[in-house]
Symmetry: C2
Subunit: 112 residues, 2 copies
DNA sequence: ACATAATATTGCTAATTAGTAATATTGTCA
DNA sequence: TGACAATATTACTAATTAGCAATATTATGT
């Protein structure tokens, strides 16, 4: 079990992946794609963002390898390339929920 | 098991946490704090960043609740508030490693 | 070929922020 | 108290980027 720290390049790679998930509009796209692949138009309808921005964010996620792209006639369907990202999001959601509960407990104890 | 999607506020909260981890200098601080608490000066020495920037990033991580702070005389020691972040980083590192291995396999098969 | 629908791209603006040098604050010790 | 060491803050610059309107591209059906 080595105790070696990540070097600068590795840190940058990790940071870059987190950066992709650090944008609400991209997270929204990802959570909408969780169940099944969707076309660009369906994603635009599901979120409340403009088509041009959705297209841009889809491009970013695709270039980074987080999404797969498949043309079907006139439509282009995007899908999750690596479900691991949902594990990441689940961890974060779990932490936020736990923190919120701790806060609630504190507030409740003060209100007694 | 509800299938409800996160709303805008929740997405923003998740994004904000990812944002904290989306910076190499902050990741470097966190990985150095993994073993044990360190003073600001020790962190400056361990990384190769300026004192003012380390102090700034420590403040950001502390304000966000990811780090705890404790004064000991002249020194201020920072420590990890929630080890969960290492689970996050481990997931990301695992993915990057797996992706790199896939790439390697492709290159090797082409080189035959 | 043409009209139309779906998606991508371009050019732009406004906002955010990492990093830095300089300076301020806070605590220790003599 | 004064000098010094550790940390924080301030003011600034340069770089990045989300969102948008307008336009370009690509595919379909007639």
């Amino acid at each position: 079990m080595a105790k070696v720290l990540l070097n600068q390049d590795q840190l940058q790679a990790v940071a870059k992946l987190f950066e992709l998930l650090a944008e609400p509009s991209r997270l929204d796209i990802l959570q909408n794609l969780k169940k099944k692949p969707l076309s660009v138009g369906q994603i635009v309808d599901a979120t409340n963002a403009k088509q041009s921005n959705i297209s841009k964010q889809l491009g970013i996620l695709h270039d980074a390898g987080l999404l797969k792209r498949e043309r079907q006639g006139n439509l282009i369907f995007y899908s999750i390339a690596d479900p691991m990202i949902f594990d990441l999001c689940a961890l974060v959601c779990g932490k936020l929920r736990k923190d919120a509960q701790s806060q609630l407990a504190i507030v409740q104890s003060l209100a007694k």
